[in-house]
Symmetry: none
Subunit: 214 residues, 4 copies
DNA sequence: AATGAATGAGTCTTCATTCAT
DNA sequence: AATGAATGAAGACTCATTCAT
């Protein structure tokens, strides 16, 4: 190795860089594996009851490895949450990429996403209401929430809102989030029923915010 | 003694009844002590991290006594929640007892209550989204939520809503609940700021639902 | 009351005595109620897992009352055991009251009793092997065991055993007891199967001790 | 490193294998440490009253470690029992390895073992009579009991028993086990006295089963 | 970088017993 | 004598995190 470096430093630099890239790629993909494993677990059970051991087993890595990628469980949970949020903003961008989506479409999309990803909602509620977060984590959380809001505001603007667009975005975001906390656990209803009902409420809220109602 | 019983059985019965009443009263008050102690603790820290030991110490009773009144911690938590909810419905009744309150007043009241009792909100979110509840507990939860909704609908009706009052009550309830999940933890803001902002959003939602906006 | 004593001491003594008798009778019957309640519970579940509360509930008396009759749970358990043992000796006496029973009959009876009263056997095993017993309790235990042995020896004698009757009684008693510890929990067998098998073994042991085998 | 792997994968494999062996060995030895610690404790007090904390302290490991090796206390207890049983079968094999042992020798050996290892006997009684066992545990228990029986039957056969060897093995096993339940706690007797008496009974039973008596 | 055994503080819950009424 | 609420020590078990290999 050292011999090579002396003989052909240039090529070696390249190699070195490639190796580092490779390492980084490997690192990223392993991180992804862990993330996905966690997400799959959350689909099955309340994320608050998922243990490191479970995640490590499900991901096929050791417990230690998880701590090589995240300083603690909370950060892993936060990462899952952040990824979901990023996914949402991405999707929102896609929806409105060509022609601006209607408020109704936006609301419908969001509620559908929440129905499909209850964990995201649980985490939002958990982090926003309860959890002790490191300053760093707090900042990340705030940023992504702001980002989400931005998209919503943009959408609102493109839909025709002129005044108070920011505060309206806040209110709309609130109203949508509230749907799930109120009805995610409706007694004796199937998932399908809940989906229908929450979408109905989303529609109503969209209408109300569009001035169509009451 | 025996003579007395024969001579005046009525009085004895009365005494017995009084004793039982007293016992019940004592029981109720001790239960209240435990409840209040828990509530006070919840004001200081996330209710999910409060232990039986803490509650027992704070209430000045033994651990065992807690379990004399509640089969497990979850039931105690649920009782705290249920009491808060009952308090809210009571207050809502009071507000509208003479002259029907405006939608805005209603919303303002609810958000103010949530600001003052974050634990109630945390618990609502906890029980609605996650927690394993016994069938009995689930039923209690559902009932109280329905009760809350009834009051909201009543208020809505008295405010002039004619059609779709039920679903509108749902939507309004959702919208209000969402405010807190979205802004209870606004970065770098004081409690006062948050209170102002959330009230502002409540007002906006009231307006929107009243057709004053957008 | 006092006046009566002076006027008619003789009659009063009688009354007093009667009252005491009555009290004693009442006391005895309540004790019996507790005892029977415990026994019924033991028929359903391992006596080691039966709690004072369960017994008190099942007997329809308060916990305190139980402690009025027994200084602690162990003594109650011991009393149940002692009563069973007394019942056995009584039955043995009955069996051989007219014509002496054969060894086989004796063994059959004992094993049948154990099959019907596993709790007795569990307790014998518990007290003989493990439990810390008060000196008083120990003495009671020893006495009843000796009594049991006496009956067995008597039976042996009446059956024709001349020499070594005492040690033979010991050995026989041991052999019978061992049947249950070895086969009370035979894998995948029904109660009926176990009963048949243990009776078969009892028969064999009776034969062996009678010199019929091997 | 990489060069080595390419040049000599075999050696590397070997190293890897050795490492795993070492780990397994270490694991085994630690398991043994826990086991022995438990056994030592059982010699001092009733195994039912031994706590995880005591065992962990005595073994010089943490509580968590215990649960790294056993899913729960019962399994640890069962393992102790199973090891004893395995030891007994091993010893029985040794005794009869060259020349078949006499029935008397066999019985003497077994009773001596029980005198030396009362815990084994307590556990047998506990598991056979009472304890809730997992299906897996139950199976292990049944197997080892059967194994024990096999040895006894083999011994019986080698001693000359031709007919009914299986059922006779059952009866003999029962008879021996019964000795301890009946006399392990003889009032006011020293260990030595008990040992003598129980050995005397074992001898008697051996005789009886050999047809020498009565 | 990956591993996973070890750690042990901390959790909820149980239950025999007491004692004021 | 009967009651049963109060007690609190004690128990089994969990699980995020560390760290030597």
């Amino acid at each position: 190795m050292q011999t090579n470096q002396i003989e052909n430093p240039g090529r070696n630099l390249l190699t070195k860089k490639r190796l580092e890239d490779l390492k980084q790629t490997e690192r990223d993909s392993r991180r992804k594996i862990i993330l996905d494993a966690a997400l799959e677990l959350f689909a099955v059970k309340d994320f608050r009851s998922v243990t490191v051991r479970e995640i490590s087993r499900h991901a096929g890595v050791s417990i230690g490895t998880i701590y090589n990628y995240y300083p603690n469980l909370t950060e892993l949970f936060l990462d899952v949450f952040l990824n979901c949020a990023a996914e949402i903003t991405q999707m929102l961008d896609n929806i409105s990429s060509k022609t601006p989506a209607s408020l109704e479409q936006l609301c419908e999309f969001y509620i559908t996403y929440l129905n499909d990803n209850m964990t995201f909602y649980q985490m939002m509620s958990h982090f926003m209401l309860g959890g002790e977060l490191s300053p760093d984590a707090t900042q990340k959380l705030d940023e992504i929430m702001k980002e989400l809001m931005n998209r919503l505001e943009t959408a609102l603007l493109s839909v025709g809102y002129k005044t108070n667009s920011r505060i309206t975005a806040h209110a709309l975001f609130s109203a949508l989030n509230g749907i799930m906390i109120s009805y995610a656990r409706y007694p004796g209803k199937t998932d399908k029923d809940i989906r229908r009902h929450t979408l109905r409420l989303a529609e109503m809220i969209a209408d109300v915010f569009s001035g169509k109602k009451p």
